[in-house]
Assembly symmetry: C2
Homo-oligomer: 218 residues x 2
């Protein structure tokens, strides 16, 4: 298992260099089932597609439900079916990466398979790992799936519109996330009513702009 992970790490590093060669920003979106990964991607694509060139990779055990949702936004999308595997990895991305025209791309959004376990172990060729947790799941997730939170650069607390109806201790959640990863960015928001979404979009916009400035300097 350690050898599998090490060879995946090496492949991810090589694939990430491919993104960097063309100044493409890579984002890996992870969460348990139904926390809102596809909706986050839909809303992000809708907000950014006029300004930036976006490609989406959808990871699912089987089916193309999510890819169909993304394609409706009018951006390119590749569906990967893992045939039972609980995560995406470098080998699955290899044929997809060979087909993507990175020279004409600014942002690559990868939606991982929906679970809080395996995707944490398999590094993907991205600059930021984003994990969504939704308030109905309960605030104990960082204690139960610590690796996922340690590996994340950004935590999105989705479905804050449901806070009045569920038991979610948002301060306790933030404390236990910061205990695992002190400098992680945390965005509480509701993808349903849009509250808080602008902070996520503003952060991503800044990251994209900073990268393009660096590119021009090269």
């Amino acid at each position: 298992m350690r050898r599998v992970l090490a060879s995946n790490d090496a492949l991810a590093a090589e694939q990430k260099r491919q993104l960097d060669r063309y100044g493409v920003l890579g984002i890996n979106v992870m969460s348990g089932p139904g926390a809102g990964k596809t909706t986050l991607i839909e809303k992000t694509v809708a907000a950014f597609k006029d300004r930036w060139r976006i490609w989406v990779i959808e990871g699912d055990i089987q089916g193309d439900l999510d890819a169909r949702r993304v394609l409706k936004q009018g951006v390119g999308c590749t569906q990967i079916n893992t045939q039972g595997a609980c995560h995406l990895d470098g080998l699955m991305l290899t044929p997809v990466f060979a087909a993507i025209d990175f020279a004409n791309l600014d942002l690559l959004l990868i939606e991982n398979v929906g679970n809080l376990v395996c995707p944490a172990e398999f590094r993907l060729p991205v600059h930021f790992n984003v994990t969504l947790v939704s308030t109905p799941e309960g605030s104990d997730k960082p204690v139960k799936y610590p690796l996922m939170f340690q590996k994340s650069d950004v935590i999105i607390i989705n479905k804050i519109d449901l806070l009045p109806y569920v038991d979610f201790d948002i301060n306790g959640f933030i404390r236990s996330v910061r205990r695992l990863k002190p400098k992680v960015l945390i965005f509480p928001l509701s993808l349903r009513n849009g509250k808080g979404l602008e902070a996520w979009l503003a952060w991503l916009k800044k990251v994209l702009r900073d990268r393009q400035r660096q590119l021009k300097r090269r």
Copy 2:
């Protein structure tokens, strides 16, 4: 991988014979993170502990949060930490089974690791596989994680108290579950306010009574 699964199947069959020797009913509870597995077990234990002798096995990547919750109910509980593995399996259960006094037990509740992928592949020594889905997760889960639903004998739709606030097509969900497994039992309920819980408890009570009647006949 096929060999690993086959040897796990054989081990599960052997361990299940151990349950049957003592007339113990085994239930495997599965779901994504935060759908309500531990709460279902808490409420079931609370309703049944005066009438039946119950043991609970809690599967988690790490930590003992759930075992602590169950122990408060005053029944025996063993915590298994999978150290990263995304499911329980027969090998993990072997030392636990060696320690449980099955002769003084009626019901064994096993809480699997929280995800909708790997637990579907690794058979456990139980009579019923129960999968929880909660309404905020969305009604597309059977299409995205079909194996989990095919392997389930009982589906619990939890958090129906949130139906007014989320997009969950309950009829569409039931239709797509039945397409995968026509005769599956489906219990819509709210573990938060208790609505619908009595149907689940009544079913489980009937199964336990039927088993005890069969045992007396032997």
